[in-house]
Symmetry: C2
Amino acid sequence: MTDNFTLHEDPRSGNCYKIKLTAALLGIPLELRDYDIMKGETKTVEFLGKINRHGSIPVLQVGDRFLPESNAACWYLAVGSPLIPTDRFEQAEMLRWMFFEQYSHEPNIATLRFWLQYVGEANLSPQQTAQIMAKRIAGTDALALMDEHLVGREWFVGTSMTLADIALYAYTHVAEAGGFALRDYHHVCAWLGRVAAAPRFVTMGGHASAI
Amino acid sequence: MTDNFTLHEDPRSGNCYKIKLTAALLGIPLELRDYDIMKGETKTVEFLGKINRHGSIPVLQVGDRFLPESNAACWYLAVGSPLIPTDRFEQAEMLRWMFFEQYSHEPNIATLRFWLQYVGEANLSPQQTAQIMAKRIAGTDALALMDEHLVGREWFVGTSMTLADIALYAYTHVAEAGGFALRDYHHVCAWLGRVAAAPRFVTMGGHASAI
């Protein structure tokens, strides 16, 4: 590995945490460059012109190239490692859960966390307030689907941790901040514990696990 | 290839079309099993119990195994083909655009098409109506980002068609049905023409291209 990696991130973002957790589990050093998304620091002319025209983080910088989208960055870091199954069907199943995470999980569970914990319910627009119930229902459905899938399984795909577990862990383990009751999902809770017990695990705050 | 493939689909769905287009370009036969999502045919006890607990299509059936999520199914079919770059960075860039498609493109452009063309604006809930403007803005942003990315490029990643082009083509080429003015995006229009000119291309209706 001769590339230098810089992660352009906001430390409060679960999408950024996915990449830091993947790198930590694989022992890959990452330089961190922090931005405050609440202050619009990813919408500056410089950021849009050089880092990501889409104005979003995370962006993984690989040498002088820039890779947006958290799950794509995790893939890049994990190619050739045990975090990506080599079996063709299991590899596709892993991507299935990563696309599920971005389509059915993150827009509900992460968005409610962002709205309730960081923006504040009193500061939401009427359009956002009107979406809370639909996001609550869809997020609950996502957690229920995960819980049912984990019956009799230790990991989302196959018999060891993959990027699917990392992608889903990021916003699931802080779902309470969005008003979701994790205790209702016993299999999810047991799986969260397994992820956190992995060798070289780091918390969202960047600390090594106490386990 | 000894697997038998069955695609559980609704022919009006762009997500299903992605898989049919991938299979057509690769010369892979697919059996089709149609469901009418407007009639709840993917919410039956049988569908939920056997095909997909999440109640959504498409689902690619591989022998007796079931793979939901359109982009994961495309990946499964295309492993080892020229539709997936072998270069590590290009492969991750391809996934970047596929995750972009599911997070920033489909929920805006495909959803407005579904609401306006199939549900009908008069039948939307007040919550849905309140979201139209935000989805219009976000969908327009997605098309503008695509258009800018395509300046000086023939394809989204590298120098030939990949799954990123297929994933983005599916709902972009019918974006007018959601009220988006494709003529505003010259580079996108030229790229749509390149995709449709590919050997073995099929239309969303399942027909071979006239080109």
